[in-house]
């Protein structure tokens, strides 16, 4: 049986008609009791299980997922990884994720197709250029890479961009982060799942939480569609459905769920070898390895759990893209979809113990959860294993809302989640 993925094993299996590949992960029956139970088999949940097993040597863990692995926002995002935030707390968090992404393929023995092609965040006015300079200064002071681009440098990395002074959205320059890029979203979920399974983690799909087992004021596990599962500690890692599960556990969260849409064009030859983000037009785009343009934008403005998206936002995103890249007008859209994202008042995530003791939270990533998967997993694993916050996750505890110590990235970096 071939377990390890390498060029050599590919060659060997090619000569044996691909008969020896081992299943990437088991599908075990749930046991009645685990040390740690993780609800949600997306990137963050699977990464949490992996780091618990790998870094903290806790092996009696289950990840339960109501659908299929990575079928929520992990499989619905636009695959961008970056750490271009404003506040030091955010840079510490998202740059940890980016650094872990840089070695993740090797660590997991799974090709996550990381491509550090750089991201340019466009400025369309003098005022936006001043804000861009402020962002670059903040990012450099906080210890991550950033560069202020003038219009010539923008033209160099985006030759198809309309930079004419008569453009509907004239370009003054932008913020460049060269270490940013894209990674294959499914591969991140599958890579973590395979590596966690190898370390003994039970990954149980089609297993939906029906209610929480609460005894003595403490969470003791959950009742699922496949029976009761008890655990010393339970973690809820369910993104846009966090409020829905929190209601079952008897508390509310500072979260509103919205649909975030994306779409892809038909595949074409390489035309765009970086990620472009334009807060002014509410559009961002990159080109996948298959050649499709992957296009995303801001949230729908109607709170929603419908994984579809409404038309006005899609129209705004596409028209913004076409104003910036007139040559994309001839492309046809192939697919459109939406994921349900969990938006907090300060556009920063929530990591910490919930109001129900024994139940821990990883949620509130809004539109930016994919890029943070390795950090979310590392920090929640630390919290579950030690019972204490990692220094990097401490500022993101839910207690910040009562203390008034918000980390307002919507205001700080203008990032719309």
């Amino acid at each position: 049986m071939t377990r390890h993925y390498s060029a050599l094993s590919l060659l060997k299996e090619g000569l044996r008609s691909q008969q020896g590949w081992q299943q990437a992960w088991r599908s075990p029956e749930p046991k009645p009791r685990y040390d740690i139970l993780i609800i949600g088999g997306g990137g963050h949940g699977l990464a949490t299980a992996y780091y618990l097993a790998k870094a903290h040597n806790i092996r009696n863990i289950a990840v339960i997922e109501k659908g299929w692995l990575g079928g929520g926002n992990t499989g619905r995002n636009t695959t961008v990884v970056r750490s271009n935030y404003f506040f030091p707390e955010s840079t510490a968090l998202y740059d940890l994720a980016l650094r872990l992404y840089e070695t993740l393929g090797r660590d997991l023995n799974y090709n996550i197709m990381l491509s550090q092609r750089g991201i340019v965040t466009l400025a369309h006015s003098e005022a936006e250029m001043e804000m861009a300079a402020r962002t670059v200064n903040a990012m450099q002071i906080n210890g991550t890479d950033a560069e202020l681009f003038g219009v010539d440098e923008v033209r160099r990395v985006l030759p198809l961009l309309n930079v004419s002074p008569e453009a509907r959205y004239p370009v003054f320059g932008g913020v460049w982060q060269g270490r940013a890029g894209t990674a294959r979203h499914d591969a991140v979920a599958w890579g973590y799942a395979r590596a966690a399974d190898r370390l003994g983690v039970d990954i149980i799909q089609s297993c939906e939480v029906e209610e929480f087992l609460i005894e003595g004021g403490r969470c003791r596990g959950v009742k699922t569609s496949r029976g009761e599962i008890r655990a010393e500690r339970t973690a809820m890692v369910v993104a846009g459905h966090s409020s829905h599960l929190a209601a079952k556990a008897g508390f509310r969260l500072p979260i509103t769920s919205y649909a975030l849409q994306a779409c892809v064009s038909e595949p074409i030859k390489p035309v765009l070898d970086t990620v472009v983000l334009s807060p002014g037009t509410g559009t961002y785009a990159s080109q996948s390895d298959k050649g499709e343009l992957v296009i995303g934008g801001a949230l729908d403005r109607v709170p929603s759990y419908g994984q579809r998206g409404n038309l006005p936002m899609l129209e705004g995103v596409v028209s913004g893209l076409l104003e910036m890249f007139p040559s994309f007008r001839q492309l046809r859209l192939m697919r459109q979809w939406a994921g349900i994202v969990d938006v907090t008042p300060d556009s920063s995530p929530i990591l910490g113990e919930s109001p129900l003791p024994g139940l821990f939270l990883n949620c509130g990533w809004g539109t930016g959860g994919f890029k943070a998967i390795p950090a979310g997993g590392t920090l929640l694993a630390h919290l579950l294993a030690t019972g204490k916050h990692h220094d990097i996750s401490r500022p993101f505890d839910p207690d910040r809302f009562a203390r008034g110590r918000l980390i307002d990235e919507a205001a700080g970096s203008g990032i719309a989640h």
């Binding site: 409020s243 509310r252 500072p254 509103t256 769920s257 109607v302 419908g306 008042p345 809302f401 008034g404």
Partner: protein
């Protein structure tokens, strides 16, 4: 394009409306009596239900603030009420 029913204007495009939060989210009264936790819950915690929702919305073009019962999964609107015509528990200070 979804249409929402403004009690004053009738059915209008969703782009003309602004979400105003949960109906019934009453401001806790008593400057010294209200704890940090209660104040934070009023400011930040949300029902955010999956399914039937009871919400405050504003129709920005006419300025009408009203209560709307709708479903957050299939987006169907059950009812919309003008607040001053017995719209029920709206959470607004009158």
């Amino acid at each position: 394009m979804q249409l929402f029913p403004c009690p004053f204007c009738g059915p209008r495009s969703e782009t003309e409306f602004h979400f105003g939060g949960d109906a019934g989210n009453r401001r806790p009264e008593g400057f010294r009596a209200v704890t940090d936790g209660e104040w934070a819950a009023y400011l930040h915690d949300r029902n955010n239900p999956r399914g039937a929702a009871n919400e405050i919305w504003m129709h920005m073009t006419c300025g009408e603030v009203f209560r709307m019962e709708r479903d957050t999964v299939h987006h169907g609107v059950a009812q919309a009420f003008a607040l001053l015509e017995g719209g029920g528990d709206d959470g607004l200070a009158h």
